[in-house]
Amino acid sequence: MKKNGNVVRFNRWGYIFLIPFIVVYLIFSIVPLVSTIYYSFFENFMSGLKQIGPNFIGLENYKALLTGGDMFTYLGNTLLLWIMCFIPQIVLSLILGYWFSDSRMNLKAAPFFKTVIYMPNLIMASAFSMLFFTLFADSGPINSLLVSIGIFDEPYSFMSHIASTRILVAVMNLIMWFGNTTILLMAGMMGIDGELFEAAQVDGATSTQVFFKITLPLLRPILVYVMITSLIGGLQLFDVPQILTNGTGDPMRSSMTLIMFLNKHLYSKNYGMSGALSVYMLIVTAILSFIVFRINNYGADDRR
């Protein structure tokens, strides 16, 4: 009996230690979440200096976003920029991860390369974007280099062409994120039972066969995890295009992302619209998060 009482007395501490997290999460996350949803049902914006609303208008903001067309354009931009970054990223990361995890390759300098490829992930995205903006400016060093070695006759205006602007955004994201993906995939590959590789080797499989017949199928859960988390990150794309295009998403708003759109509404104090847009994004990310949750199957192998 005494022991039981002790355990209960100690377990009270579980709640006590949770207080800071719960209080802070409630104030800084749950309340904003609920009020964001609440604001989405109101007409509430500034028209010039005149404050319109707040008037309850039900789902009108949601309807306006669905019929206005802008949201889908920006969703398209966001997804396109994500795909342009994700496809080369996953190919590169799979190859590099395979080399790093393959014991037969025995790459001596692997720790150095891992350190190098992960580094851009920690760089301030806004500063990196500003750097690209100056490097690829009409009078910037890249243009002067390209002209001097004769690839272009005159400076190419990277920032006023749709394709080149998008490519710059995708390249920056690729540089910043492929190292992270490589390390995750490598960890996944290292987790595969080594006996499988040995057995394949004994059977005379080439490393290409091993990669496609063993590594890739067994890696599928991690690949899906990487893809979904990358997509969640991709939908949040903001810093890089915001700084590169100075918030305009130009040329012709072709690199305007959803969060840039949200940011615009927040700055112009159109609370109703930004609320509705936030809720749409919340629903999408919640669905994607749930998939991640299920893949990882957290809790199922929890200790107790």
Partner: protein, 285 residues
């Protein structure tokens, strides 16, 4: 047996050579930007206008002095960034470890639901609740202060998750029993026994929390209004928004370098721990 590799597909030596060549190219594309940044930060506006060279010049300190004398409050930006990122990192690792400890070491009714809840909300981005967040801070008169940028770090689900994963592997419950028998209170046990044991995890997560906060642009830009309170990413955005051709380009490069290099230096010193720690927090192995 030995010859098998050579017979089927490419030989191991060839493959290794290909790997090194590809890795060399990849390394070049990761690092060349920072090299150009460094070179250009040392060159004067006039030299920059002449085109690119790969050799550093001598104007680094001159550019920096000019930048300091200019209108951008860079030292304020630097100090603000350090204060916000430093405190966020400290609060984040300490309280996340505490939350993880609560769910790791104690048995109580809501234990499982709370754990599941935190994991479910882990991926939800802060941007989607930014509207409510900014308006709430406005109502609480916390706008244009550092509090909305620092205090939320206490409840960081991703940091919590990492700490929890780490505890599963390295914090035996018998240790807590022993501490209890020695008469140590639970709070003291956490501070003097658990936290020291968590040092490697704390180090990795402190760096991540610091850089995330240091690099954050979206939320601070919505919260901070006074020029002297702004953080480095906001100043970078201002630099971009200004008619940049009027600027001395040497200064622009120094400003970018000024925001990037502190993190690179810390990374180079601690990279061993960081790279090793990346995988633990995300994929369940």
């Amino acid at each position: 047996m030995q010859g098998k590799d050579l017979d089927k597909g490419l030989g191991i030596k060839t493959r290794r050579t290909i790997a090194y060549v590809v890795l060399g190219i990849v390394t070049f594309f990761c690092l060349c930007w920072f090299y150009i940044l460094f070179i250009n930060a040392t060159r004067s506006h006039g030299e920059l206008a002449e085109g690119f060279t790969a050799i550093p010049s001598t104007h680094l300190f001159e550019n920096f002095a000019n930048l300091q004398a200019g209108t951008l409050p860079i030292w304020n930006g630097m100090i603000n960034s350090i204060i916000i990122a430093g405190l966020t990192a400290a609060l984040s690792v300490y309280f996340s470890a505490m939350t993880a400890f609560a769910l790791h070491a104690y048995e109580f009714k809501l234990r499982k639901p709370i754990f599941t809840f935190i994991l479910m909300v882990m991926m939800i981005p802060t941007q989607v609740t930014a509207l409510g967040f900014v308006r709430l801070m406005d109502n609480m008169h916390l706008k244009d202060t550092f509090i909305p940028l620092i205090v939320p770090g206490i409840a960081a689900p991703a940091v919590f998750f990492y700490m929890k994963q780490y505890m599963e592997g390295s914090l035996p419950l018998s240790l807590l029993e022993a501490a209890r028998i020695d008469g140590s209170g639970e709070f003291r046990t956490f501070n003097t026994i658990v936290m020291p044991l968590m040092k490697p995890a704390v180090a990795v997560q402190a760096i991540f929390a610091f850089t995330t906060s240091w690099n954050n642009y979206f939320t601070p830009a919505l919260i901070l209004e006074t020029d002297k309170k702004k953080t480095l990413p906001i100043l970078i955005a201002q630099l971009r928004a200004a008619d940049w051709l009027k600027f001395d380009m040497g200064q622009v490069y120094v400003m970018i370098a000024f925001s990037i290099f502190p993190v690179i230096v810390v990374y180079i010193i601690l990279s061993k721990y960081i790279v090793g720690g990346v995988a633990l927090g995300s994929v369940k192995g």
